[in-house]
Amino acid sequence: MINIIPQNIIRFFVLVFIQVVILNNLQFSGFVNPFIYILFILLLPFETPSWLLLIIGFVTGLTIDVFSGTIAIHTIATTLAAYARPFVLTLFAPRDGYESRTSPTLKYYDLLWIIRYSVVIVLIHHSCLFLVEVFRFSGFFYTLLRIILSSILTSILIIISQLLFYKNK
């Protein structure tokens, strides 16, 4: 149980590194940007208290902002995603609740659950991010298209990473 903390810290650095060094420079076409760092918030253990979740979300967003040269838009979006996570977890809870000492990974839950859980959080995060980035409602459908396409790409990356690292059935 004690190695959960170093494990998460390492995951944080790896995801921030991937986001900043690779994904921020390797956009696929005009308006599709994957933001894989949200996976860090998704994978935190179930027992994480909500207030800690918020602080972690805030710090994660701030780190990405500093390295992307954007001002606080990732912070706003990631804090919102961290706030929403407990509600989404309650929404998708299994009949007998979450077992303790498990984490939201493919090791403990089936693929369909992972997909539903990830897609909802990613949609919340990306919607907030792109709307705040544009900061206006003109060209709303263009923004909407960016949100949907980017969310799909991020979700696919998240599912792939789950299949790669947690599939041991």
Partner: protein, 300 residues
């Protein structure tokens, strides 16, 4: 006897009052504890929104300045590695620029105008100075793209200086720290640059619609002006940021909205923002003088 009763009454009232207060405080505390997550959430969001809005209206906070120093150093290391992949491309570009500059050498021209020779020192007074810098971080796919340069205040870069490269204009310096500076490129939805059509000198404002990093919009060109595809668009030199006549791009397409007196002109930008490496920061040596004069007129 009466005295004691009075005392007791007072004590009683005070006690009730106290319990009333503590009751209220307890309720408030209970409320706070019950909703502490939501409160924390609101506080954090207010903090981050404040940072965002402050930045939209004012210069970046010194907080950002300091963080730029940290992330800037990491990007410098990163770009020193990536640089090698672009060496061939960059060499080709530099060679082309060398040729272009060689054509401009004074020895290539015969000076036969007597006026120029007489007034040599006045004609050749230097107005613009250039500082070479390297791009260490760049984005093209966001709505608010920014570029980070490896030089800053210590190397003489100040906010509101223009940035160009061998292909054309790049952007305007927004903020500087000691060793790094941040540039708003043409392809940022908040960027507005004064531009004109080279062949007839009509000027308008260049802006970006946030869609494709290769194209920008030229607004405020009135409908009676003759525009055709392939016209070159250059800087106007009115803003005292860029010298006059730096290439921006060519007219790719244009149309005309009903009920509007101005064209919508689409410009194909000559600068390849995807592939930026070496840039020149333009310093206008007479900028302060021009600004003071212009301000003194508007204050009348």
């Amino acid at each position: 006897m009466g005295f004691k009763v009075w005392d007791l009454e007072l004590e009683f009232i005070e006690g009730e009052y106290k319990s009333l207060i503590s009751f209220d405080m307890r309720n408030l505390l209970k409320f706070l504890i019950h909703y502490h997550v939501t409160f924390l959430f609101i506080v954090l969001e207010v903090i981050s929104f404040t940072i965002t809005i402050q930045n939209n209206f004012y210069q970046r906070a010194s907080f950002i300045n300091n963080t730029t120093e940290i992330s800037g150093n990491i990007y410098r290391i990163y770009s020193s590695v990536v640089e090698y992949f672009n060496v061939r491309n960059e060499n080709d570009k530099l060679a082309l620029e060398n040729t272009a500059l060689r054509k401009l050498l004074k020895s290539n021209y015969i000076i036969n105008d007597k006026n120029i020779q007489q007034a040599n020192d006045l004609i050749y007074k230097q107005k613009y100075d250039y500082i070479n810098a390297k791009v260490i971080n760049n984005s093209v796919f966001r709505q608010t793209n920014y570029i980070t340069l490896n030089k800053g205040r210590n190397q003489g870069i100040k906010p509101d200086m223009g940035v160009i490269n061998s292909q054309g204009i790049v952007g305007i310096v927004k903020d500087v720290s000691y060793n790094f500076s941040i540039v708003i490129p043409t392809i940022n939805i908040n960027a507005h640059i004064s531009a004109k059509i080279k062949k007839n000198n009509y000027f308008g404002t260049l802006s970006w619609d946030g869609k494709d990093y290769r194209y920008a919009l030229l607004n405020e060109i009135p409908f009676h002006v003759k525009v055709s595809k392939g016209d070159t668009v250059v800087t106007s030199g009115y803003s005292s940021i860029f010298p006059e006549g730096i290439t921006i791009g060519v007219v790719k397409d244009f149309n005309f909205n009903q009920g509007n007196n101005f064209y919508n002109i689409y410009i194909q930008l000559s600068t390849d923002f995807m592939n930026l490496n070496h840039v020149n920061v333009v310093s206008n040596l007479y900028k302060d003088e021009q600004k003071i004069l212009e301000n003194s007129v508007t204050h009348d």
